[in-house]
Symmetry: C2
Amino acid sequence: MASQKPRLSRELVLSAALELVDDEGLDALTMRRLGQVLERDPMSLYRYAENRAALLDGVSEMVLNELAIFPADPDWKAQLRRIAHDLRLLALRHPNVIPLLVTRPLSTPLGMRPLGTVRPLEQILALLIDAGFAPTDALHVYRAYYGFLYGHILNELQEYIVDPEENEALLRLGLHRLPAKDFPRLRALAPVLADYDGEAELDQGITILLSGLEAHLDRAVAATP
Amino acid sequence: MASQKPRLSRELVLSAALELVDDEGLDALTMRRLGQVLERDPMSLYRYAENRAALLDGVSEMVLNELAIFPADPDWKAQLRRIAHDLRLLALRHPNVIPLLVTRPLSTPLGMRPLGTVRPLEQILALLIDAGFAPTDALHVYRAYYGFLYGHILNELQEYIVDPEENEALLRLGLHRLPAKDFPRLRALAPVLADYDGEAELDQGITILLSGLEAHLDRAVAATP
DNA sequence: GCACTTGCTCTACGATGTAGACTTTACGCG
DNA sequence: CGCGTAAAGTCTACATCGTAGAGCAAGTGC
């Protein structure tokens, strides 16, 4: 009765994997558990991903595909700002996936990454080059931008606490464990830490960075020849 | 014969762990393997770390202790710049530990982290507050700064290739796997990617960021009242 | 000499990733 | 229809992992 085990597919497997990760964290994503979710023998998964690592890559890719980039937009600053906010929201939607996004590339040379995870890089380069940057400068801008962006996201997720009810309480409780003599400033900042506005903080940072970049490579971006 | 198993200690265990991670990567750090390195039963390790996760935290802490911060320095910008370069070098010395530094805090609220990993935060806050920033602004500056710094390090490590001989070859080889039609700009940038000057890139980024921050919170930092 | 703590070891268990051989299902073609 | 081949899914088995729990050994204070 009910749906009789619809045929498996890569998409199906990956989205079940993502759901599992979102719901229960990275460690919950074991082959056996995933097999169980899909009501299939764990071994069947190996048809759709070479091994667990590849499965994780697949999840990364799938998540990054949620990010829309329009490389044709002539207003590169606006576009970069929008992407930043989108990526931030995406991170908040899938916090458990972020370690993957950040960690997997460290052990995989650029050329061997899942295409979906390299595409944003290509597209942002396109955006910048089309906007008038020399390719080399585009790369510099990309690095500064993406570096800052990922840094911010990591920062924000570190301070992210799920239940806004217990938010301040929990935070204080946590901070309370720090020896008062060694961490006076941190402890004093508890209330400020408690209401962290990640969106505003990101936006300001991006503003600073973008105008700084523009000024620094002061070859003004001529819109079109 | 030879040295008869010197008494174990937390330091000993942790530094053996760090060495193992540096030499063979995070996955090589298993309780059994570490026990073997120390010529001790794996179970003995549990005297010095509650479990594997705590061991990893210990390694993080040990690495971060290599970072010297002088919160009393009145020249906050110079100090932040120096710290940035120091942390970068530290990352290059222990690339395999970086995933830990970045990933563990995501699952540990501020107050429950190993003290050694929170101390830099406290010290930088001290530096900034002593330099005249209001505590809240100090926190903002810290976030932007550390966010950018970690972002840069992640970026650089991603492009880091161990063997400088094969450097360009490998990179090209890697990039060659990308479909030419979908990734034209990236492929065109191969030579530029091949000689990446992380130090310069970091320094420029820091310059942009610091001057941007100073301007943005334009409440000029009065040295002393 | 004895009691006790501390460092360390032994054994054992459940869970994990995955290789390899197997069975079942789907499907194209006569 | 039916038959043959390929694809999808399963079963069994193994090495390796973290770690609980009981026990052993050596040092320390009385």
